[in-house]
Structures are given as structure tokens and as C-alpha cells.
Amino acid sequence: MLKLEHIYYDVDADRPDKARHILSDVSLEFPDRTVTVITGHNGSGKSTLVKLIMGIDRPASGKILFDGEDVTDASVTERALKGFTLAFQQPVRFKGITVRDLLNAACRKKCSTGEACKYLYTVGLCAKDYIDRPVDDTLSGGELKRIELATALAKGGEVFLLDEPEAGIDLWSFDELVGVFDKLRDKTVIIVSHQNKILQAADRIVVLNSAAQPVVGTRDEILPGLTDTGAPYCRRTPTKEQE
């Protein structure tokens, strides 16, 4: 169980005149073997929350507990080794580092070509076309997002943080993506998303709102309210006809 207790986070905290509260007194629980989708309007602190959980940013106050252990002060590396795994919203590009190098780093060993192929295949990429390509600006945004997800799968762990995993991924691959989440059903999965199809795959939904406390509930409790026409938190996945 991952627990956040009374988390506060401000941007520009060092400049009081410009400081803005992103998260104020947020307490949340993420049970094991549950897929939670975090949604909310732009600027509501979704990505911030994920970065705080991974240790990339530190809360101004509050605690992060994992299986009862206080990990608030643990570094990114320490959290990664404890089983926290993050697929970034905007995957990082490298000069000279290949997809294989990244998968090797993720596995903490030399992945066999077979293993590497398995991860790439899971995210819908033909391994032989990608394995030796550099993770640089020769890859499209969608390709990069899939490789990011493959890297997260290769790393493995207990808590998967997936920040807008659908961004840049074409409409026809959505079912494939949801299939990836299904493979992680025995883990704690936290997904940041606005997409209806991904919200539908959730067990629980957290709606963040910088002006109020988060709204938390099961999918069936929250989703009907979100997907009403005009609801601000959710974009419907366009149907193929609409495209």
C-alpha cells in the first residue's frame, strides 16, 4: 500500500510573492493490485504528484509511506530499487544510447535479444526495427512513448507510475495500451490520464483539483460524473467515425 499523508507542494516556494499552491494537504491511498487513474484539469498537480511519489520533486511537507515505510526522503535511485517505476510524460532523448542500452539499464543486466523483443512487442513495436536505434530525435513522439513504456516494463517493480502513457499514441493502439495495464493488475498502478478509454480501465479514479480536496472513488462512482457532456476533467476518445 502506498500512502500520501498531508502533502503540500508549492511552485516558486522560494519567492513568496510568486508562490503558487499546487497541492495543499493532499492525502491519498493507493491500494495494492489496483489500477488508479489520476485525472483533473491542467495545472491541478497530476504530474507533480507522480514526481513527488518517484522522488524527483520533494513535498514542502507531508509524508509518503510505502508498505508502512517512510520513503519521503528516499532518493530517486532508492525508490527505483524499492520498486517504484516511472514512465515519463515526456520521455528523455539521449545521444548515442540505443533502445537496447536503455532496456539493459532497466533490467540491470544484459537483456537477451529475446527478452528485449518481448518488451518491445508488448508495446506494439517490431523489435528488430528498433532494438539498435538510438533513443534520440530520429524517433517520433509516439515511438518514444512506446519505448518509454517498454523500459518501464523491463525494469519491473511494485508501483508503476505512468504519466499520460497515451500521449502521441495513435487511436488504433489504445486497446493494446489498455492490454498493457491489464498485465500489471497484480501491481499498484497509477496512471495520469484524461482519456475516457483509460479511465474505463481504472479500478479507482482520483480527480485532482487545485482549488479543493481530491475526489476519490471507484470507477463506477466517479466516471459517470466526469463523462457528462461539458465535464471539464475528461476528453472523450474520438470514435473512428469522428476522425
Binding site: 518517484m54 524527483i56 532518493s75 530517486v76 535511485t77 527505483a80 530499487l81 517504484f84 517505476t85 516511472l86 515519463f88 520521455p91 528523455v92 539521449f94 545521444k95 548515442g96 544510447i97 540505443t98 542500452d101 536503455l102 539499464a105 532497466a106 540491470r108 538510438p134 523500459t151 525494469k155
Partner: protein, 305 residues
């Protein structure tokens, strides 16, 4: 050959034993071993130290190793190697020099190489420089490379210096003919108090001539690097120079590009980016469980791959 010789040869030329075909191994200013074939003749110079490497026209898929090793201190070795590549030939030349300086003095190797590539010939030239030895000893390379490319000729140069060289000042000068191409990949890593200077002067003389120079360097410790390039577009041509540097610790990299479009159809591009390793690259790798140091090493290893 002694064990140390073999170790150095492996580092600079991936040689585990005496190679097949044509080769020339030079040690401490003397010829250690050599072999010449009809296709690639190795001819010792009579007026000065060095060899002529003559590749016959039409010779394809052959390679020649010409490594140099220095295993003594207080020694300076200048060698003049001239490469004559016949028409339509396609060969790989593996050069490089390893210095093991056991003392505190200076061990220096200066290779003066001149490449003359005839029409439509193609050469891949691989050069590694490596230094090791006692602390305080100087390991120096000041190579000069002159290149003349006839119509349609292609020279690919891959130069690598990844450690232990206390000082280098390398100069590469090229004149590129019609439809000819000069492709350079330079990799450089300096650390400690090392200093490295790399200079390029390329004249794109011929119609549709091309040059692509990509330099990737990492400067650590208190090391110092300087990169100068001067590309002159004297005809309808395309020139591209890219200088990417990572600075760490208290190191310094100076990059001075110069492009001179001396013809209305000359198209010349220079890109230079020098800075520390991007923070998000380290964060990404640390999120996979690497320590900050391991993340840095992974980025550098990829960068200099």
C-alpha cells in the same frame, strides 16, 4: 613481441597477434614487423622515417594495419606515412598509437599522414590514440593529417582518444574534389590535467563536394579542450560541422567554428553545443535504479559510442 606490446596493440588496433595481409608495426622508432602484398604495398621511406602505403587500383575489401607503440619515456618519434589509393579501390586502414611511458619524462609520437585518394576510391581510416604509464609522465600526440580527394573519392575518418593522453594538438587539412566526400567522426575524452586541441581546415574545392565533421567530446576533471574548424565552400558544395561537448567537474571546452561560403551555391552548416549532462537524462536513468555516477557513466558511454 612482449606482453606489453600486445596489450597496447589490442587497445589501439584490436590486434591479438600479427595480422594477415599487409601491415607495419612500429615500436620506439623502429620497424618491429612488416609485410607487403601486391594489392597493398608497404614501402619504407629512404629519406625520412615512415612508409608509403600504396593500394593498387580496384583493390576491394582489404584492410591494412599500421599501428605504432611507444614503451619508453624521454622519446620523440615523428613518422611520415603517405597513402596512395588507386582508382576504385575500397580499403580499411587501421592506424593508431599506444604510449606506455614508464617514467616522468615525455613520450611523444607525431604522425604526419598524407592521403591521396584517386578517382572513385574509398577509404575507411580508423585511428585510436591511447596513453598509460607512470604518474607525472607526459604522453603526447601531435598528428598532422593531409587529405587530397580526387573526383568521387570518399574518406571516412574515425578518430578516437579515450584516455591517458596528457597533451594532443591535432591538425587535419583536406581539399575535397568534385563529387568527393570527407566524413569525420571524432571522439575525445579528457580527464585530470589533460589538454586536447583539434583543428580542421577543409576546402570544398570541387563541384558537389561534401564534408561532414562530427566531433563528440567529454571533458572531465580539470582538463581543457579546444576545437577549431574552418570550412571553406569554394564551389557548389555542402559542408556540415557538429561539435557536441559535455563538460564536467572543473573542465573547460572552447569551440570556435568558422564557415566561409566563398561561392554562391555553397551551403555550410555549423552546430555546436557544449554543456553539462542534461538533468533529465540523469533522472531518467536514476529512475531505472542507477546511481548518479552510474547514470553519468551510461550517458557518456553512449555519447562516445
Amino acid at each position: 613481441m612482449e606482453k606489453l606490446d600486445l596489450e597496447l596493440l589490442e587497445k589501439i588496433a584490436e590486434l591479438h597477434s600479427v595480422p594477415e595481409g599487409s601491415f607495419n608495426i612500429r615500436k620506439n622508432g623502429e620497424r618491429l614487423a612488416s609485410a607487403s602484398t601486391e594489392d597493398i604495398r608497404i614501402i619504407p621511406k629512404e629519406d625520412k622515417p615512415g612508409i608509403d602505403i600504396v593500394v593498387a587500383a580496384g583493390v576491394k575489401n582489404k584492410s591494412v594495419h599500421i599501428p605504432v607503440i611507444l614503451t619508453v619515456g624521454d622519446f620523440q618519434d615523428t613518422v611520415y606515412n603517405d597513402f596512395f589509393i588507386g582508382e576504385d579501390a575500397d580499403v580499411t586502414i587501421i592506424a593508431g598509437c599506444g604510449i606506455h611511458n614508464p617514467g616522468k619524462g615525455k613520450a611523444e609520437h607525431d604522425g604526419v599522414h598524407t592521403f591521396r585518394l584517386s578517382e572513385n576510391s574509398r577509404v575507411r581510416y580508423v585511428e585510436r590514440h591511447y596513453g598509460e604509464g607512470a604518474e607525472g609522465g607526459k604522453r603526447v600526440f601531435d598528428p598532422v593529417t593531409n587529405v587530397f580527394l580526387d573526383k568521387g573519392a570518399v574518406l571516412e575518418m574515425e578518430t578516437t582518444q579515450l584516455g591517458g593522453v596528457t597533451f594532443t594538438d591535432r591538425m587535419t587539412e583536406a581539399v575535397v574534389g568534385d563529387d568527393a566526400k570527407l566524413l569525420v567522426k571524432e571522439k575525445l575524452l579528457t580527464d585530470g590535467e589533460e589538454k586536447a586541441i583539434s583543428r580542421f581546415k577543409v576546402t570544398l574545392q570541387g563541384r558537389n563536394s561534401t564534408c561532414d565533421i562530427v566531433s563528440r567530446s567529454v571533458a572531465r576533471g580539470s582538463s581543457h579542450q579546444e576545437f577549431y574548424s574552418d570550412v571553406i565552400g569554394a564551389n557548389s558544395c555542402f559542408g556540415h560541422v557538429e561539435c557536441d561537448g559535455i563538460v564536467m567537474d572543473g573542465a573547460r571546452i572552447l569551440s570556435t567554428p568558422q564557415i566561409d561560403a566563398a561561392h554562391p551555391d555553397a551551403s555550410l552548416v555549423h552546430e555546436a553545443a557544449v554543456g553539462k549532462i542534461a538533468g533529465d537524462q540523469l533522472t531518467k536513468l536514476m529512475s531505472l535504479g542507477l546511481t548518479e555516477k552510474e547514470a553519468e557513466d551510461t550517458v557518456i558511454k553512449g555519447f562516445l559510442h
